[in-house]
């Protein structure tokens, strides 16, 4: 009935000298499927198609990909949001090396995340119960801790494309601020020192691609601005 024309980026390093786009027809029977459902239907036709997926409800961050030019999670993106004239073009997240088909090597992305020392640092002795934190202090972590590391933001950021080894990228910086903003963390100075150079944070030009694509509705640009304010007040 309603045939969806899907064009998928294919590349298997064992057999292909260069990537190419492959066309598939998918019969959606008029349903507003999620893009992940469409991919599964394609995989039933051609089992060699590789893509990552896990929770299929937008919380694990496995299936970030580029759908008709925009990064997002396949499992929570309905066709009605992305398909144009019954056409869908699926590509891997831009800017990272492709391992196979829609699977990218996330190594650089994780490395920048790890560089931010994304764990609570507090050198005071912990009490026998929890450390206390007021609801107001805790509210500051909202919009920060929910990141699912899907890399949709960092791979839509030109600054990350040009310098993925030096610019931390929006995802890593959001996490940096998640700990800077935590009333329980006291490694603020060391965290700020890590970000002072011209690349790690300051390569952000504030174009807000990250905000536009974040499937969790988070705002890394705002977090980056907050870190910049902290650096400024620290230095002046």
């Amino acid at each position: 009935m309603s045939n969806l024309q899907v064009s998928v980026y294919r590349y298997n390093p064992e057999t292909d000298s260069a990537p190419y786009m492959q066309e598939f027809q998918v019969d959606t029977q008029g349903r507003d499927l999620m893009v992940l459902n469409v991919l599964t239907m394609i995989k039933d036709q051609d089992s060699s198609l590789a893509f990552r997926r896990s929770c299929r409800e937008g919380v694990c961050g496995s299936d970030g990909m580029n759908m008709n030019g925009t990064n997002g999670l396949a499992c929570i993106t309905p066709l009605s949001d992305v398909a144009k004239d019954n056409k869908l073009v699926l590509r891997p997240l831009p800017g990272l090396p492709v391992m196979r088909d829609l699977v990218v090597d996330m190594g650089l992305f994780y490395k920048q995340y790890e560089r931010m020392q994304p764990y609570l640092q507090n050198d005071t002795t912990a009490p026998a119960i929890e450390r206390l934190q007021s609801p107001e202090e805790r509210d500051k972590l909202d919009g920060l801790y929910e990141c699912i590391l899907c890399a949709c933001c960092s791979t839509s950021c030109p600054s990350f494309w040009w310098n993925p080894d030096k610019f931390v990228g929006p995802a890593g910086l959001l996490q940096a601020y998640r700990f800077l903003a935590d009333s329980r963390d006291n490694a603020t100075q060391a965290r700020l020192a890590e970000l002072e150079d011209p690349f790690s944070l300051f390569r952000c030009r504030g174009i807000m691609n990250c905000v536009a694509v974040c499937p969790k509705g988070l705002n890394p640009t705002r977090a980056i601005g907050k870190i910049r304010e902290m650096l400024l007040s620290n230095a002046t």
Binding site: S47, S48, V59, I129, R131, R138
Partner: protein, 590 residues
């Protein structure tokens, strides 16, 4: 295969979810050579989907709260086949484990006094059921699992745990002595097959909800650890006990947390009636999950279901107001909009009982050591094999798990396994090496798939298996249906043994992983089916039309499924906690 590379670790932890990461953290902190082997990047594990919280008597909402009350609820919730020594360990060690998580940075929601926010969940009581509803579930909004998993991953980074991300364990290597001495694993990125040698092998592979057609579980929940243990000949405990969560989103299967009802939401039928008042006059919508799920099915069967086909009910939240929903249940608002096309601020969410959790699994003691039975039916420890989390059956959940107890199970028993292994390694352990034939046995099923040249496809067989389980082993069960299901599974075993892997490439071949997962789904499904057919009573999540009552005379026991001859035996439930009096079985009402 002749040039297979060896990797050697003190401990290998298979699975990067909550329990695996908690165990790994303990070992990494003490400098043991540990690796976490996970088929997905750890934060993609299913723990991330847990919403409502982690139940634990930290005495925040109620300063007089007592872990013994929590233990009572857990034992009662499990319909009295939870091991009481294990439930005692879970509830008494719980606060320590939760405070540790907080110290690691988990962003719990807070009360005005700065302490961790706790909400009411199903089956919770004060004063051993006599003091009314308790609020004992510690929460980070409705993203507790996400917050917990990320916190654990982050702290493993801090402690330099070695990660083998996107590696898939194929089978355990068991030597002539019956000891587990490692596993065979596949590096998904390159296709390389590696022999991982270890003194301790921890199965932290999570659940297997994907044996059912409709489940809240992630696509990766294929029971890989259970499959490996069964193929190695180890028995499984209480596999008939599968929890159906009352509130899976109708059609999509995605979970809507019990926290919704904890915050004041309730279920209604097509007449708008709050029907749980009839089934559980005291606890109402916060009765045990098995009770609520059965009540929902009864409403539908009696013609009071909602929708065109009258096949589901509604979860009403709009009366809580937008502010509460956005503050306490923001993720649920998001999920309902995406998957039910409903804004819970304005309308109720269509829900239906959906497969959610495997109470059964690899029998272990509180240290995570796997248990098997000798010929005379006596317990025996399996050297080198450990299990924790949903893959294990300690058993703290018995026949029905209470909401919020799974996250506690993960951290308490992940931690306990880590502590025990650390100590054992420090004292020094040596096992016999594996022979070439031991290793060959562990690679045989991979070889079978790699050599397949024709046959049925994996997705079709998987769908058939899932439908079989859905139809014959759902919320209500009966003999003839289950007989049929068991027969069907036997037939599927034949066909899966002949099935075809079309793509034989090496680099990131997800078709191969899915084929290997199908083997595991089949093992879990068969253990479930045969154990369910065997238990001739109704207890907890196992409800039979033909045996509607609990039978404590014959069935106050664990079931033990033996893969060799596919028989089921009984194993005693522990009724001797160390520091509290035994909770004697009573009629279970809410």
């Amino acid at each position: 295969m002749s040039t297979m590379r060896n990797l050697t670790f003190d401990a290998i932890i298979i699975g990067g979810g909550g329990s695996g990461l908690r165990a790994a953290l303990e070992l990494a902190k003490s400098g043991k050579k540990t690796a976490v082997l996970s088929k997905v990047f750890p934060t993609r594990s299913h723990t991330v989907s847990a919403q409502g919280g982690i139940t634990c008597a930290i005495a925040s909402a109620d300063p007089n709260d007592d872990w013994r009350w929590h233990m009572y609820d857990t034992v009662k919730g499990g319909d009295y086949i939870a091991d009481q020594d294990a439930a005692e360990y879970l509830c008494s060690e719980g606060p320590k484990a939760v405070f540790e998580l907080e110290h690691m940075g988990l962003p719990f929601s807070r009360f005005d006094n700065g302490r961790i926010y706790q909400r009411p969940f199903g089956g919770q009581s004060k004063d051993f059921g006599k003091g009314g509803q308790a609020a004992r579930t510690c929460a980070a909004a409705d993203r507790t699992g996400h917050a917990l998993l990320h916190t654990l991953y982050q702290n493993n980074l801090k402690n330099n745990t070695v990660f083998l991300d996107e590696w898939y364990a194929i089978d355990l290597v068991k030597n002539a002595n019956g000891d587990v001495v490692g596993c065979i694993a596949l590096c998904i990125e390159t296709g390389e097959i590696v022999h991982v040698k270890s003194k301790a092998t921890v199965l932290a592979t999570g659940g297997a909800g994907r044996i059912y057609a409709s489940t809240t579980n992630a696509l990766i929940n294929t029971g890989d650890g259970i499959g490996m243990a069964l193929r190695a000949g180890f028995p499984m405990q209480d596999m008939e006990m599968w929890q159906f969560h009352p509130t899976g989103i109708y059609g999509a299967g995605t979970l809507v947390t019990e926290g919704c009802r904890g915050e004041g939401g309730y279920l209604i039928n097509k007449d708008g009636e709050r029907f749980m008042e009839r089934y559980a006059p005291n606890a109402k919508d916060l009765a045990g999950r098995d009770v609520v799920a059965r009540s929902m099915v009864m409403e539908v069967l009696e013609g009071r279901g909602c929708g065109e086909n009258g096949d589901h009910v509604m979860l009403k939240l709009d009366h809580l107001g937008e502010e509460v929903l956005m503050k306490r249940l923001p993720g649920i608002v998001e999920l309902s909009k995406t998957f039910a096309h409903v804004d819970p601020v304005k309308e109720p969410i269509p829900v239906t009982p959906t497969c959610h959790y495997m109470m059964g699994g690899i029998p272990t003691n509180v240290h995570g050591q796997a248990i098997t039975q000798d010929g005379d039916g006596n317990d025996r420890i399996v050297n080198g094999l450990f299990a924790c989390g949903e893959a294990a059956c300690v058993s703290v959940h018995g026949a029905n798990r209470l909401g919020g107890n799974s996250l506690l199970d993960l951290v308490v028993f992940g931690r306990a396994a880590g502590i025990y292994i650390d100590q054992a390694l420090s004292e020094g352990i040596d096992y016999l090496d594996a022979s070439a034939s031991d290793i060959e046995r562990a690679t045989s099923r991979l070889a079978r798939w790699n050599e397949s040249s024709g046959g049925e496809s994996v997705p079709e067989l998987k769908a058939e298996l899932q439908n079989t389980m859905q139809n014959a082993f759902g919320v209500f069960r009966q003999e003839d249906n289950m007989q049929e299901g068991v027969k069907k599974l036997a037939e599927l075993r034949e066909r899966i043994g002949q099935a075809h892997l079309g793509d034989k490439s090496d680099v990131f071949n997800t078709a191969r992983v899915e084929a290997l997962e199908l083997d595991n789904l089949l093992e879990v499904a068969e253990a479930t089916a045969i154990a369910a057919l065997d238990r001739k009573e109704s207890r907890g999540a196992h409800s039979r039309y033909d045996y509607p009552d609990r039978d404590d005379v014959n069935w106050l026991k664990h079931s033990l499924f033996h893969p060799g001859d596919k028989t089921v035996t009984k194993r005693d439930v522990n009724f001797t906690p160390k520091t509290v009096d035994t909770f004697e079985p009573k009629v279970r009402t809410y």
